[in-house]
Amino acid sequence: MRTWDIIGNRRWGYLLSLLVIIPGVIALLVWHINLGIDFTGGTLLNLRLGREASLEQVRAVLQPFGLEDAVIQKSPDRPREVLIRSRPLDEERTAALEAAYARQFGGAEVLRAERVGPTIGRELRQKAVQAVIIGLILQVVYITWRFRSIRFAISADIALIHDLLVVVGLFALLRKEVDSSFVAVLLTVVGYSINDTVVILDRIRENVNLRLREPFGRLVNRSMLEVLVRSLTTGFGAIVALIILYFFGGPTLRDFVFGLGVGVVTGTYSSIFVASPVLVEWHNWSERRQRRPVTAGTAPADVPAPEPAAVGRSAAGGAASGGGAAGGSGGRRRNRRRR
């Protein structure tokens, strides 16, 4: 197999990430995220008119209701359907509006009609924030506990934050509307991102336990290549499934599936180009720090926080003693070595 030096080229990966994240973050700061009526309160009316109508015609009907500021959307593949978002309208006025459209355009079938009162909107917003925060904390706690290593856990978390920034930033950048289901998108993306990262980091750890003389960067690179087929197979499969859902699954699901798709791509990308490189950077950094005070065995307080046992051993480069400490399990595994 030709070896790709992913770790050697990791700076290109950082650059690409920044190229996606920075515009997204700027959009987020400047435009904020486009909150749907779920979070702001309001009325949403999705109608199928008797005949095609231009945006101006649709807006003209809204005028007598004092709703000039409503947002009107049409999708090109469904010319007779319109989506109107406005501030909350009571039932009578909604009915009157529907009737007005029916008169004007030869019928108006209600596909979807939603009204969210302002209090409910505020509550849904709070709940969404709550769900994201609680979900994230629990997931991060699990991962930290699982790796029993701050270094691995934080690498996974950085990849995860990277993915969330990409998804949220892209939604802000594209002015896509965000509703309650966005929370589901975010937490699922986190799940996927962690899934993919865990597989790679697990392999790195396994290899760290096996081989002690390989430079850390090369070991990480090799570990990634070993699981690359799996990563791409799964990512590819998921993307194909989501693309099909996006194009054939109907318009209601589109933004939802879009968010998941972005999450799968960035989740696959980030475990290779973010989580693993961060691990390498950290390793290099702590090596430099350890080398500077040459006096060996100085204050352990100087050593970066709780050293993960396995990584620490290889980091210290203590070949002889480290090998011994790896103990029986390491030896047993070595017998099973691949080539």
Binding site: N46, R48, E91, A95, E109, V110, L111, R112, A113, E114, R115, V116, G117, T119, I120, K127, A131, I134, G135, L138, Q139, Y142, I143, R146, S180, S181, V183, A184, L187, T188, G191, I194, N195, D196, V198, V199, D202, E226, V227, V229, R230, T233, T234, G237, V240, L242, I244, L245, F247, F248, G249, G250, T252, L253, F256, V257, L260, R336, R338, R339
Partner: protein
């Protein structure tokens, strides 16, 4: 080996039970099994079958506080109003202290439903003496003054002296006017219960020539003159009704007034055609996606791919059976969750198979390779699935409606996929990892 065949039998039994749970091909008639056309037994969410989700919030009034008892009372009355609508399987739940969630699947005219549900429907017969109020006049909440309708719009002080209320009604029906004038006009005919009938009779007897104003939720419907003493407790309300509005009022009066006013704070309606569209489209897209994944596994892993696909089919079967068994609801995001969990089920097998490939390439025997593949991949599969389970659990607790459906399907899907991808595939692979079949089990190495 014994253990393996036991597993095999168990899986087959589970699969049969799942088919019955998920699609019910066998029905029991007179204690005898009868074959019937299989139908998916999973109930569909409002976003897939069309319907309305309505959240009502009770409001305090100067007279009544929105206590839990009052809200419960309101719920009962709303339930009987909905029963009159003939909605199939409505759900009415209280949420928190003062909210009521009403779900009406497949309701044809959601606005009529909301008119029926949200009205307080307090009917009052008011003694206005020599004053006849025009229809559309409204009393203020305190009952001390009346605002006349356009074009006058004047507010005049007038005390609301209530004679009887709708609470004393025994029955109300829409009917047509039978008298000399306005024959054929829709009206609401009513009948008072014992005590109410007596009160009504006495009052009409002593106030002949005066006006008895009929007020619904402080709006004046009509203000007829009392021509004669009305005995027997029967009467009628007329006043610009259409047949539909007369029927609605009759329904409201039969069910009784809400003890407290409620307000619609959230309403989501999905029209039947969008619901059907979403169901058809997402099911089609979902099946295309699943078929592609199946084919992909086949190409990538050949014979073991078939086993993984078999496990995947079992997975889908188990998932739908569990959803049906738990009476969970399938929503549109739930279908997306199904596709995601199919991906995760396949991912588990990809992880295992890739691992076996590596071990085989390293020169291991097939058996040792299979053992190592499962042993090593297990941890990674568990972790990735647990993080998704955590996310799904949080969504289940904090989410509502379709999102809850997403969380349910994702949670169950991930759990079941761990079972099928790890246990079922293992049993199948082990059962076949012996001559002469084992030469097909090379995992493409």
């Amino acid at each position: 080996m014994r253990l393996r065949s036991l597993w095999l039998v168990l899986i087959v039994l589970l699969a049969l039970a799942a088919v019955q749970l998920a699609a019910a091909p066998v029905a029991w008639r007179n204690r005898r099994p009868v074959l019937q056309r299989p139908r998916l037994q999973v109930s569909l969410g409002l976003d897939l079958q069309g319907g309305s989700h309505i959240v009502l919030e009770a409001k305090d009034t100067p007279a009544v506080k929105a206590t839990a008892e009052a809200v419960d009372g309101a719920m009962e009355i709303i339930r009987s109003r909905i029963d009159e609508l003939g909605v199939v399987e409505p759900t009415i739940q209280r949420q928190g202290e003062r909210r009521i969630i009403v779900e009406l699947p497949g309701v044809e005219d959601p606005q009529q439903a909301i008119r029926l549900i949200g009205k307080t429907a307090l009917l009052e017969f008011v003694n206005t003496g020599t004053v006849s109020l025009p229809a559309g006049s409204t009393w203020n909440a305190a009952g001390t003054a009346v605002t006349l309708p356009a074009p006058e719009r004047r507010t005049v002080p007038l005390k609301k002296e209530v004679v009887v209320t709708g609470a004393d009604l025994a029955d109300a029906r829409a009917a047509f006017e039978q008298g000399q004038v306005n024959t054929g006009e829709p009206i609401v005919a009513f009948r008072f219960k014992g005590a109410g009938a007596k009160k009504f009779e006495e009052f009409t007897g002593s106030h002949v020539g005066q006006y008895l104003t009929i007020v619904l939720d402080n709006d004046v419907i009509s203000s007829p003159v009392i021509r004669d003493r009305i005995a027997g407790g029967s009467g009628q309300i007329s006043g610009n009704f259409t047949l539909e509005s007369a029927r609605e009022l009759a329904v409201l009066l039969r069910a009784g007034a809400l003890p407290i006013p409620v307000e619609v704070v959230e309403r989501r309606t999905v029209g039947p055609s969008l619901g059907r569209d979403s169901l058809d489209l997402s099911l089609r897209a979902g099946s295309i996606a699943v078929v592609l994944i199946v084919v992909f596994m086949l190409i990538q892993y050949r014979f073991p791919g078939i086993l993984a696909d078999l496990a995947l089919l079992l997975y889908a079967l188990f998932l739908f059976a569990t959803l049906a068994g738990l009476n969970a609801t399938m929503t549109l995001p739930g279908i997306a969750a199904f596709v995601i969990s199919v991906g995760m089920a396949i991912d588990a097998n990809v992880l295992i198979f890739e691992r076996i490939k590596e071990e085989l390439r390293a020169g291991k025997t097939l058996r040792a390779g299979i053992q190592a593949g499962w042993d090593r991949a297990w941890g990674a599969i568990l972790d990735s699935n647990v993080t998704t389970l955590v996310g799904a659990a949080v969504l289940f607790v904090l989410g509502t409606g379709p999102i809850k459906g997403f969380a349910t399907t994702l949670f169950l899907g991930v759990l079941i996929s761990m079972f099928t991808a790890i246990v079922v595939t293992r049993v199948l692979v082990d059962a076949l990892a012996r001559p002469p079949i084992d030469r097909f089990l090379r995992f493409g190495v």
